[in-house]
Subunit: 221 residues, 2 copies
DNA sequence: TTTTTGCATTTTGCATGCAAAAATCCGATT
DNA sequence: AATCGGATTTTTGCATGCAAAATGCAAAAA
């Protein structure tokens, strides 16, 4: 008998989580704004039960803050929290790099290089939005290449919180150029399977990202 | 005016999460067993709405697996997943140690030493259960001493999954002795604020733990 | 005897109802 | 004009209702 892909029927609460996560990351639901259940139910065309389940899940991801007896709000953006998160992500990426050096197949690394080439192209064109998308894809791919699914889940969860900061909007030209150079080095270290070097590069890359985001936040304040 | 602790009115779903998490960690809800909503509602004396919210949250922690249209089950224990989790926790503890060296107050470190002394005492007495409790407390305290709350949350979440394995039951005498020696070294490095050494010690300590758990699992299989 | 099919029961997923808490409004009072 | 108090409305938290899906089981067919 031939393999048939099962009919997919996602639960409503999952769909709701994904939709709301996107809304929050894209800023359509602004940090600090209250989540009115009735309103969101109407917009998503679902009832309160799955919506409330979704809100609780987003709260566990840190994208939403629960206010007892007063519903929930989109988690406010805090500089300190962002720094904390990036610090943890740096450690996770360093681990991912190490594991990827040891476990990733050559094909997987080639895929990462392909993404890298695309990203460099977008940098050359000055297409910041596309650059940013490839950049994200590369980091995620490295984490996946580690072969540690738990690491991947943990990373993604933290990443959602960082995406909201939309630091890409405040990326200076110098920092952008530097980031691309760093990426080239990261890829070279991965291809050489140089664990120590890759660990250090990934760690520093994230540290620089934090510095750049912090600066942007200071300017905004 | 004197500070009064407010009358606690925790949401039912939070209470339910905590209770069920304990039940799962303690094995009263066995890995792989189905979660019958009606039954659990009766046991916890709550209705299905907060219960279902709790189940979804536990699923995001990885303690529960959702089976679409067929409810949920306690997440089965998998050797590979445990190894993955410990690998991530090792990286997080290494980071925590580094941050603790830099940020922790002397008092905080003294508190950790106090816990360590107690733990050594329990080891001397052969009181494995108490030893295990102090051991946990020390690791959590180091993570807290990092001052990075996000790191703490991430660590605790992963930790819940490890606690279920109850590797302490299969702890060999030699490994136990060795673990205590490792802890003494860890504490010394923290007190000396020797970042590099502490990182390495914590990392190795976790690696040894994984090895010991794996061995126990192999024996059980 | 084993497999398949139809039916009854149970369980789940989602919607809705209800009471309590919070927010809002609005006039009275200072 | 600002503030307070109280009633009114809104919103939340939890319970329950209902339909669809899954499960169990016995009878029919192979």
């Amino acid at each position: 008998m031939q393999a048939i892909s099962p009919i997919s029927r996602r639960p409503l609460h999952e769909e709701a989580v994904d939709r709301m996560r996107d809304l929050i990351i894209q800023g359509q639901l602004a940090p600090g704004s209250r989540l009115n259940e009735r309103l969101l139910c109407e917009r998503l065309r679902i009832s309160r039960t799955p919506l409330r389940e979704a809100i609780k899940l987003l709260a566990s991801e840190g994208l939403v803050t629960l206010l007892p007896n007063r519903g929930a709000q989109v988690a406010p953006l805090e500089q300190g929290r962002l720094a904390e998160t990036l610090e943890v992500m740096a450690a996770l990426e360093a681990l991912a790099g190490e594991l990827a050096c040891r476990n990733a197949t050559a094909e997987r690394i080639a895929e990462i290089r392909a993404l890298h080439e695309e990203m460099v192209e977008m940098h050359a064109r000055g297409d910041l939005v596309s650059y940013f998308r490839y950049n994200q894809a590369i980091h995620l791919k490295i984490v996946e290449a580690s072969g540690n699914a738990t690491l991947g889940n943990t990373y993604r969860q933290l990443n959602a919180n960082v995406l909201r900061a939309r630091y890409m909007a405040n990326l200076s030209r110098e920092r952008w150029d530097e980031a691309v150079r760093e990426h080239a080095q990261i890829l070279a270290a991965l291809e050489a399977r140089d664990v120590a070097r890759l660990r250090r590069l990934l760690h520093d890359h994230l540290a620089h990202k934090l510095a750049s985001v912090s600066q942007a936040a200071v300017r905004a304040a």
